[in-house]
Symmetry: C2
Subunit: 217 residues, 2 copies
Amino acid sequence: MMKIFTFWRSLASFRVRIGMNLKGISADENFVDIFAGKQNEPGFKLINPQGLLPAIVDGQGPPLVQSLAILEYFDEIHPEPPLLPKDPRGRARVRALAQIAASDAHSLFTPRVRNYLGKNYGVDEAGQLNWARHWIDLGLRAIEDHLTSEDETGLYCHGDQITIADISVASLAVGQQLFGGTLTAYPRLAEIFDRCIEHRAFATAHPLAQPGAPTSL
Amino acid sequence: MMKIFTFWRSLASFRVRIGMNLKGISADENFVDIFAGKQNEPGFKLINPQGLLPAIVDGQGPPLVQSLAILEYFDEIHPEPPLLPKDPRGRARVRALAQIAASDAHSLFTPRVRNYLGKNYGVDEAGQLNWARHWIDLGLRAIEDHLTSEDETGLYCHGDQITIADISVASLAVGQQLFGGTLTAYPRLAEIFDRCIEHRAFATAHPLAQPGAPTSL
């Protein structure tokens, strides 16, 4: 059986869990407490030397890492329901929205970045929170601009089917909530997020629905 | 004809230029001076409201943004030579290596991030340089770990054909050089980078080979 290395608070793991739920993929869950630094211990470094979550072990071959690469892998080995549209332009748009959320925003406020700011630049907790909020806001704003100005937006980020864009946007929206913010400044995104989070695949993957999570924000 | 919005110093534009060269795709080049802040002026914001390079205008429909999404688009509309292997696991590995370079490393040291560190956290130029060097080093180290420990590594990052992984790794390696570093600590990566940069598609796309670039580092 497939193994996933995950943690309730990891937004990248949240993305992968949503994909697994949508595709009906099950895996043995292995929890790696990133608040306790378990991702940097030798045991996990054997799985992912980069010390980042999530990682997937699926049969022979090196572990699979990087949430967006894993989601594309799921889409290729389990094509239904598709997580990308059929046309190249649509696929490019969906992948770009996913990258804005995961790469331009989320990468900038992961624990390793906030810790580095604290340790090497003397940035206190309030400063680290402001840092996270700034990049989350820019990411949500950029996505809202795409959603409101482009005709391809539908019930979801791209038309009326859930794609990798919705998964990534949902992870950033939950990040905003985990850091104490709201989505009121991004109404189109908020409407799509509300639709996503009502879906069982998103709801059961939610960080706060995972073992070890606090009962509320 | 396709239009590309680009700048010599943009590593994400470098990735897209390599892909265009490999595929034989030509485009009208529009230079956006990110050192002069042109990416934040209304003219370019109409193309990409996020104010980031590169962007591609290809016929009707919204501009294409995000270098990795654009490279996948090129690969779908011009399948030869392929920039991804055929098997889903190989594709996942290639996409993961590309994400490590572009998302986990490059996203953290773009001009907007360094400027924000300077303006809001009082980090001087030396501190900004250290910041960039730190994330570049972690990215190169993570990629070197994959390249040395995984059998899939060949003449290039994945087997003996150029993929999106090589394009992304080359952009990070050039970033290291632009910030005054070397690749000696990452010998397998350096060997692959040397092979890439001898290729005409990489050499002619190099930041220092573009209009407006300084004649040397």
